[in-house]
Symmetry: C2
Subunit: 349 residues, 2 copies
């Protein structure tokens, strides 16, 4: 899944260049490329399908030249994750009705790659053994209030895979602490495994409106583009969690420890990045800092930063905008971006 658009990393991510296309760690690899490389030991490149918005076609081609043309599914409209995955399941099932699939957001960080590969292999074994929808649940390292949580239920006989008891939206801090201390709750990473047939069945049962957008018509791999142009925009905009996972009776969680972050914000990026002795983080820049602590410095291009006296800040500098903002206030960044758009124009966001 590579169609997301976000303002949480403004001014780095913009509508024209969302986060998955950025080289956040200055490693020469964008998050999309890293996701591709990460899944490659488990899924053959010719079986990796990218679903993205039509406006990102050139970016995907440029960043993943190895991906064949027919493996890039271009959404004509933004409809959240459920229609995206319903289309992907149809597309894959048309090639192989027995296929199973893993769904990966293209903008996450996974530090423990072999644990990730093991989790996928175990997950495929599990979903191929029956009509099962599996989601990865990340063992929480803190009472994070920015993630949804999954409560585990009955064991399944497969080690570390359990029935899901409940899904919870982002909790309050107090609630998050209870969740984490209980040992029963896991972060919802948005990584899913299932047989395409299981997912299509689940759509028909749990989200008939989504299913109908693809079932009512003449979907075939040959006429796919025309079909999608007509049908996709008619699907409701709804997430896979809400449309299927929270409703289906056959949902399981595989509990894992992957060194995972959804890199959902500057703060999340700060938390997973290596820090210097003063607790500062530099992304792609050279820094001469004095009396600075707990600050993330991120720059585009070959540029140096000289800073003095900043405590717990985000300093993010792109071609079009410079952000100097307290990390603690970053929940307000979304409003800031809207204000920037209103005052200075679309071109800055």
């Amino acid at each position: 899944m590579c169609g997301g658009v976000g303002s949480r990393f403004w001014p780095f991510s913009r509508r024209e260049l969302p986060k998955q296309f950025l080289d956040f760690f200055g490693s020469g690899t964008t998050l999309l490329q890293a996701t591709f490389e990460r899944v490659r030991p488990v899924v053959q490149p010719e079986n990796i399908v990218i679903v993205t918005n039509r406006e990102y076609y050139d970016l995907v081609r440029a960043q993943l030249p190895e991906i064949k043309e027919e493996n890039i599914l271009l959404e004509p409209a933004r409809r959240n994750t459920a229609p995206c995955l319903c289309w992907a399941a149809h597309h894959i099932a048309a090639r192989d009705p027995e296929a199973s699939m893993v769904v990966l957001p293209s903008d996450h960080l996974v530090l423990k790659e072999s644990a990730f590969h093991e989790a996928l292999r175990r997950g495929f074994d599990f979903v191929e053994g029956g009509d099962r929808l599996l989601t990865l649940g990340i063992r929480p390292s803190s009472p994070h209030t920015g993630y949804g949580y999954i409560q585990r239920g009955e064991p399944t006989g497969t080690d570390s895979i359990l029935k899901v008891k409940s899904f919870t939206e982002k909790p309050s801090e107090e609630m998050a602490k209870v969740f984490v201390n209980s040992g029963e709750f896991f972060w919802n990473a948005g990584i899913f495994l299932w047989k395409t047939s299981s997912l299509l069945k689940a759509f028909r049962e749990c989200a008939p409106q989504v299913a109908a957008a693809f079932d009512d018509g003449d979907y075939s791999p040959k006429g796919e583009r025309e079909f999608i142009d007509r049908s996709f925009p008619a699907a409701p905009s709804i997430s896979i969690d809400y449309a299927v996972m929270e409703k289906a009776p056959n949902v399981y969680v595989e509990t894992v420890d992957l060194g995972w972050s959804d890199l959902g914000s500057w703060k999340a990026l700060y938390e997973v990045s290596p820090r210097n002795a003063d607790g500062n983080v530099t992304q792609n820049c050279r820094l001469l800092a004095s009396d600075c602590k707990g600050t993330l410095f991120a720059v585009k291009g070959d540029k140096i930063i000289v800073a003095d006296g900043l405590k717990d800040y985000i300093v993010a500098d792109s071609e079009k905008a410079l952000l100097i903002y307290p990390i603690a206030k970053e929940q307000g960044l979304r409003h800031i971006v809207n204000e920037v758009k209103d005052r200075f124009g679309e071109q800055f966001v």
Copy 2:
């Protein structure tokens, strides 16, 4: 005088692009261009001579296309202001031995233009009436410790022009307060008027080493370039204040109120710039600030800044470097620039 190189406005001013060539106020006019326009009502353009370093030739041509080739004097080496003015006096005297001249740094701000024109006209009258060296003394608006001070002496009979009693280097804050309260001291603006013949005489009497570099040889307007290549580098590197003004017996000060600043630092720029209600200054940028006070925001190019929580800072962003630095510490900027050079290389300074 247009040959200066400075680090006090880093990262805006750099060796390749010193402050006089910058459009500091985003007005579409560089300081050099503003200086040219400012003196034009008093001095015909064909009589305006630019002395600069050879490496800035292209910049001068581009910024002042109206100036004729032969009016640009290109120093082959950096020798401070005394050799620069000795050459200029020879050059002008060769055209007209009776000429008088006004010396203007090309990187200062003057807000009161008609007072400036009046001061120059009165000054020319004064120096053309005898063998006199005249410097402008700015009525101080604060006990500034970044300027040299001139103490006025006996009146001359010409209103507002007095004999100079003494020159003082940059004083301590305590001393500066005494100076300002006495009413006897004026800021040394580095703006001078004299007949070329008076200056050349003064060089021969007060700074024979400087005079000798130009007198010992075959200076003529025709062979000027070859002569200068040979002689100029042989002159000692010394300021006009130290070489002549502090020694000559015939030095006078014209006390003026010009809305003048030497724009000697970010702080000086902040002080002369219009501020918004929070006491913030923006140079060439659009700002969305929250909880910021007393901060100067300066940007190159079409860029916006979003800032929160900065008090009394300089935020200066160029293509190569971003500076976020407390105004109060700006005396340390010179060291910072040296450290940048040592750690990151020449290309950043």
